[in-house]
């Protein structure tokens, strides 16, 4: 028995800000104070509040230390762990109230959250199966194998109303029922852990913080559809997740929770890891399966759907990590419990990766139907530096930008589609007035051009042409006809592409065009970038009041565009100016600006 537990976040965000060093320093100090028998240090998964990492919580007090530095460790050990005095100065200040600490659940960031998929993240040691079992882990698998028929399992998942969390939102129970209905024989269960949306990291956090939940859920899916082999396709870019998954699979095998005759039943199931190799299109289900087969990850037309003809030509169920993370609790607590959360057509909770221009970047899990305003202003703590909110981007390269006027719409699958975006995997990037919407559309198109697999023409060539028009606009070289052409092209790409990548690639353009048309027009007609981002449209000007007439800028200008005599304010001839920025670097008075 330990009298204190120190939980240090070992997720990627906190690891990047040095939590490994914190753990070593802690272990060293604890040893030096002879507390090894009394205090246990545990590396957990993500707590969610990545902006304040590295994060550390000490129980039983529940003291939440944020932005911990190695230098702070001796004080925390000698004061808190030895003398029992919490180092209030180093706590996350929102948890400090009149010298007592309040529970994390009452802080602005956590108060509105409801943790279902993330319930064990930041709570257990992901590398220890006993901690997962201690949180009712593998109970659902036990229940399924001893009390339920495969039909019962499918019915329970169907009744819960769970929809695919990877973005498409297809009802999970129905997917399972299709595969279950196929004749007996070789079938497969796959997990899509190829989280490709740049700016989304919820799946990674589940894999890093609670890998067993995915294993348990996949075994349940295997039982439900009659499959005895599963594959987890995980990004190679997530080394921590890969390592913890492998450890978890080994532990599950050692404990008889994977392999032959699981828990004494006649059900066999085993899992294998396959690493992705950096191709966004492999998030598409048919492409992912082709990639597991060891080929170029190109999608193929559907039907036949994977439930009929999937991996290696056999019936296959493929779900996303977050979808699986909900399954064991649905089995244990019942379909009604799950269906009681959320909106009419979108049940349960959704995890969002909150990023961009927002105070509390991190992972949040909220019931479906929460409004964007609650997420951004309350949980996210609003926008830093007093800037104004411009748009929230959801759905990554397949989604769209949501303007301020729609902040109060309850978030669910159908509402987001109705306003021209989509749920996607749950990336939520906040943009302020300094973000140029044309530039953002171009950014996403550059991504899809790069990631288009090249198999079908509308996507391969269409996205490239779309990118070129956007590039022209950001350089001030486009006409209003280009805008019409661009819009028309968007609809062609959407209608004619083979897979989801191409069908949704124009969404960032269409949604910004819909809500921020004036910004496009400013670029085209006025040759101005209102947000001051598009370099080609900025002009350099010298502030007469700040310029001392030192002549340095005029000397460094390669185009001879700066005129003026000693001790007199200089001027830039915008026609000659190459916008190279050399003058700004040289100016010692901060007198030159881009406008």
């Amino acid at each position: 028995m330990y009298r204190s537990h120190v939980l240090v976040c070992g997720g990627t965000g906190c690891t990047s800000s040095g939590s490994e060093r914190i753990v070593s320093a802690l272990e060293k100090e604890i040893k030096a104070s002879n507390l090894e028998e009394e205090v246990k240090v545990i590396k957990t998964g993500c707590f969610g509040l990545c902006a304040l990492g590295p994060i550390m919580i000490i129980y039983p007090e529940g003291a939440f230390y944020s932005m911990v530095k190695v230098e702070d460790i001796p004080e925390i050990v000698s004061e808190h762990l030895v003398k029992g005095r919490i180092v209030t100065r180093l706590l996350y200040q929102e948890t400090v109230k009149d010298d007592t600490i309040k529970s994390l659940n009452h802080t602005q960031f956590y108060a509105k959250q409801k943790r279902v998929a993330l319930r064990n993240c930041g709570v257990i040691d992901p590398e220890n199966i006993n901690e997962y079992i201690g949180m009712d882990g593998y109970m659902a698998l036990g229940k399924v194998l001893s009390e339920m028929t495969p039909e019962d399992v499918v019915k329970c998942v169907t009744d819960s109303g769970l929809r695919g969390r990877g973005g498409g939102g297809f009802p999970t129970g129905r997917k399972w029922s299709f595969a279950a209905a196929q004749p007996k024989g070789q079938k497969y269960v796959c997990c899509n852990a190829d989280e490709g949306d740049p700016g989304a990291f919820m799946d990674r956090s589940v894999l890093e913080g609670d890998p067993h939940v995915v294993i348990e859920a996949m075994a349940i899916a295997g039982y439900a559809i009659g499959a005895n082999q599963g594959y987890i396709y995980v990004r190679a870019e997530y080394p921590i997740a890969v390592k913890r998954l492998q450890i978890a699979i080994n532990q599950a095998r050692e404990n008889g929770l994977l392999g032959k005759n699981i828990l004494g039943s006649d059900f066999d199931f085993d899992l294998e890891l396959r690493l992705g190799a950096g191709a966004f299109v492999c998030g598409e289900e048919t492409a992912l399966m082709t990639s597991i087969e060891g080929k170029r990850g190109e999608p193929r037309p559907r039907p036949p759907f994977p439930a009929v003809k999937g991996l290696f030509g056999k019936p296959t169920v493929l779900n996303n990590v977050e979808t699986y993370a909900n399954i064991p609790q649905i089995i244990l607590k019942g379909a009604d419990w799950f269906a009681a959360m959320g909106t009419e057509k979108s049940k349960g909770t959704k995890v969002f990766a909150l990023g961009g221009k927002i105070h509390n970047t991190g992972l949040v899990e909220v019931p479906m139907g929460t409004t964007l305003r609650e997420i951004i202003e309350e949980i996210g703590g609003g926008i830093p530096n007093g800037k104004k909110f411009k748009a929230a981007q959801t759905g990554g390269p397949s989604g769209g930008c949501i303007p301020a006027e729609h902040l109060d719409i309850p978030i669910d699958y159908d509402n987001l589609i109705a306003i021209g975006s989509m749920m996607g995997s749950g990336g939520l990037i906040v943009m302020d007035e300094d973000t140029c919407m044309v530039d953002i559309a171009k950014f996403f198109l550059e991504f899809t051009v790069d990631e288009s697999c090249g198999k079908c023409t509308p996507c391969r060539i269409g996205t490239k042409r779309l990118y070129e028009i956007l590039d022209k606009i950001t350089k001030g070289k486009a006409t209003m006809e280009d805008l019409d052409k661009m819009e028309e092209l968007c609809y062609h790409i959407k209608a004619n592409s083979l897979c989801g990548l191409g069908q949704t690639a124009p969404n960032p353009v269409l949604s910004t065009l819909h809500y921020f048309r004036d910004e496009y027009i400013a670029h085209i007609v006025d040759k101005k970038c209102p947000a001051g981002v598009c370099k080609a449209l900025l002009s350099y000007v010298i502030d007469e009041n700040k310029c001392k007439g030192c002549t340095l800028c005029a000397k460094v200008c390669p185009a001879g565009a700066i005129e003026g005599s000693v001790k007199v304010a200089h001027k830039i001839d915008t026609k000659k100016c190459l916008k190279c920025g050399a003058c700004i670097e040289k100016c010692r008075f901060g007198a030159i600006m881009k406008k």
Binding site: T12, G13, T15, S16, S17, L49, C50, A51, L52, G53, G196, D197, P198, G199, A200, F201, R204, A236, E237, Y238, R274, L275, G276, A277, G278, A279, F280, S291, I292, E293, G294, K295, R296, G297, F312, A353, G355, G356, K357, T361, G362, Q393, G396, G427, I429, M431, T435, I440, F443, F444, F447, D450, C453
Partner: protein
Amino acid sequence: MANTISSVPFAGTKEQEKELLEVVKKHKGQQGALMPIMQEAQGIYGYLPIEVQKIIARELEVSLEEVYGVATFYSQFSLNPKGQYKISVCLGTACYVKGSGDVYDKLQETLKIKGGECTPDGKFSLEACRCIGACGLAPVLTVNDDVYGRLIVDDVPGILAKYMD
């Protein structure tokens, strides 16, 4: 995914080849073995030159075209050697809106190479990557296993200086 045939002469050793043959032996016969083999081969050689692809094709009894097709499809596979210090700038959305594009430009300018290239002395290679998942620290770059977060353009010279010995 701008892969081309490398202009750097192949310098694989007998030991590396032996290791590769072991890897092929371990996976051969397994369904979908090609990608895991290529991933491990890249771990051995640091990249996947055509010479290595030929060995894999020969040992697995598949065509070189199939191996090359896979090698050029996935951005993780590199046909060019990487620098001693691999710099990756995250151009995921969260980092991008916080200015990682400017950091990337500054690195290209300072190192006088484009993304995907390596400096002539083999010291630095530069690439853009899509989200390493440290969005809380945006904008982020990595140099081998070191992570640098909450960057501004002016941090670039200081970071490079650490590796200029």
